[in-house]
């Protein structure tokens, strides 16, 4: 399994000299399994370059694109994904069910004439849309994709991809579940506490022992204050605690804040090391996601 990062930034593209090292494109991750269809996670602006790269690889025909959710930064690159315009490609799109609209409606709306000159109906590739829930999907011969709802202001999925004993979890746009009823009556408060605990435990099980855990850690512990709680993004330490509890082999910090410069990102990583390293426990190696960064498993 090979994992390649094409966009690692959250919220909005942030190009410029201060972000050149880690990159300013919004989320897009490619997962290659030899002899199997190509898997792409999210279609932030990073997908534009991936699309051009795919054109240079003649063997690729079958593409499976999974959206964590449909907030702007995860779909805005899609209209610029060139394979959509070429008849040879068979592109299957997946995204979490959304109460009021389906995936096809949401993606088609961003390609209405008001916003973009080419409409979905005009795309030449063979395209299909799938609204998905917590489930298991087999891609190609033997790639298993498992989904899990995570905590974001809109319905959002995390994906676990497994093949030949190797595993990768992509969990962007998530913050730990919390008791939303802490100030309510006693019964609600207790129920809320229990639910948050159950959900956080279920996430640990989902991530348990994976080789690579790519996770939202947009904020430092100090930044993750009440003004940002509820925005659906984690602090580095909260994501690290999850990684350690689940015994993952390596954690990748993802969904970088658009205002975080390259040097700030390095500082954030070293601060996390300072506050999280423990001589008494298994420590998880942590790296920062960076554009064009490849992982071979």
């Amino acid at each position: 399994m090979e994992i390649k990062f094409w966009g690692v930034r959250g919220s909005i593209p942030s190009p410029g000299p201060n972000t050149a090292q880690f990159g300013g494109n919004t989320p897009c991750v490619e997962v290659i399994n030899e002899g199997e269809p190509l898997i792409i996670l999210d279609a932030g602006t990073g997908i534009r370059k991936l699309g051009m790269d795919i054109l240079k690889r003649p063997d690729i025909k079958d593409i499976h694109l999974f959206f964590s959710h449909t907030h702007w930064d995860h779909i805005q690159g899609l209209p610029f994904f060139t394979p959509l315009l070429i008849p040879k490609y068979d592109i299957t799109l997946y995204g979490p069910v959304h109460y009021s609209k389906n995936l096809e409606q949401i993606l088609s709306q961003q390609m209405e004439y008001t916003y973009f000159p080419v409409r979905v109906e005009e795309l030449a590739a063979k395209i299909s849309f799938n609204d998905i829930i917590e489930q298991e999907i087999t891609i190609g011969e033997d790639v298993k994709v498992t989904t899990k709802f995570v905590n974001h202001p809109v319905v959002c999925l995390s994906y676990k991809i497994e093949k030949d004993g190797k595993s990768f979890v992509y969990m962007t746009d998530h913050e730990p579940y919390r008791n939303l009823f802490a100030d309510a009556d006693e019964l609600s408060c207790e129920e809320g506490r229990q639910v948050a605990k159950d959900q956080n435990e279920a996430l640990v099980e989902f991530v348990r022992g994976v080789d690579i855990f790519c996770v939202d850690a947009q904020y430092t512990a100090e930044e993750y204050d009440p003004s940002r709680i509820g925005w659906g993004h984690s602090s580095t330490i909260a994501s690290y605690d999850l990684a350690r509890e689940a015994g993952v082999k390596e954690m990748i910090i993802f969904h970088h804040d658009p205002d975080r410069s390259d040097s700030d990102l390095q500082k954030m990583l070293s601060n996390l090391h300072d506050i999280s390293w423990s001589p008494d426990q298994d420590n998880v190696p942590v790296r920062l996601a960076r554009e064009q960064f490849n992982i071979h498993l």
Partner: protein
């Protein structure tokens, strides 16, 4: 009024008594939905007020649609799992659509159009209230009155679908307003019937009056004219914009005379309609989702 028409009017009024009441939970959820500072606990408490509604929300949460593995039996769990916005939308649409459903789909008036028009009026009426700096606590009454102003039509259509079709088609092309034709044919208009329903549902008097006088706001008591005129104008504007109803007539033109004394100017009103189609589309999509 002939004996036959009088008997029909009585039958229509009697049928209101058999209508299910709009639960207090529904009105509470409407209010929470438009309050940006509402807390998850407010929403859960409102849904809990109505056990039937709570059942419906949990049924939707547990439906194959979300495919959650384990059965969700508490609203608190549902809110934490699927988010406040999702549950709020489910609850709102469940509350409204279980109370009101036009059981007919004839050409000039169907369920979807009815909702679209009602939603457009409610959004416009609320926007007017805000623009007129009406106290926040009353702004919701404008919204709900707009949503409910044509509720009397539900009763008329469910009892007399064929005649209603004739009436509304005639009204949309001719020079006669539907209320006059309804009075002539049934002895009572949808506006008067609507006010009776609002009263049965224990809406405040101002709102009952706004529904009753939405075609004749000049007849509303002086201290309640502002809301009645707002619903009246919202109704005409929605017709003119052809939201929910495909045709509009000359009678939907807002005259300068009618505007006299109303605190908002025609340009204020134009401004309010700018985002309307989008807002209606959004509201419509979740209403559709709950059916």
């Amino acid at each position: 009024m002939s004996d036959i028409v009088q008997a029909e009017a009585k039958e229509l009024i009697d049928s209101i008594d058999q209508m299910a009441a709009l639960s207090p939970a529904a009105t509470k959820i409407i209010s929470i939905s438009s309050n940006l500072n509402a807390e998850p606990a407010d929403l859960v408490n409102a849904i809990n007020m109505d056990p039937l509604l709570m059942g419906k929300v949990l049924k939707l949460v547990n439906s194959a649609y979300f495919g959650l593995g384990k059965a969700i039996v508490s609203l608190q769990r549902a809110v934490i799992l699927l988010g406040f916005n999702t549950i709020k939308n489910i609850a709102l649409s469940a509350a409204m659509t279980s109370s009101i459903n036009v059981q007919s789909s004839f050409k000039s008036f169907n369920n979807e159009q009815f909702w679209e028009h009602s939603v457009a009026c409610s959004i416009l009426a609320k926007a007017m209230a805000k623009k007129m700096a009406i106290p926040a606590i009353e702004v919701e009454e404008y919204f709900v009155s707009g949503l409910m102003h044509d509720i009397g039509k539900v009763v008329l259509i469910s009892k007399h679908a064929v005649v209603c079709e004739e009436i509304y088609e005639q009204a949309s092309f001719g020079k006669t307003v539907a209320v006059e034709l309804e009075e002539e044919r049934f002895g009572i208009s949808h506006a008067t019937l609507g006010a009776r329903i609002a009263s049965k549902w224990r809406f405040p008097e101002t709102m009952c009056n706004a529904v009753e006088f939405h075609h004749t706001p000049e007849k509303a008591p002086d201290d309640r004219k502002k809301m009645a005129y707002s619903i009246h104008f919202a109704n005409k504007m929605a017709h003119n914009l052809k939201i929910g109803i495909e045709t509009s007539s000359d009678l939907d033109t807002i005259s300068d005379e009618a505007m006299e004394g109303f605190p908002l100017s025609p340009s204020d009103m134009d401004e309010l309609t700018e985002d309307l189609p989008k807002a209606v589309e959004e509201a419509k999509s979740f209403l559709r989702g709950s059916r």
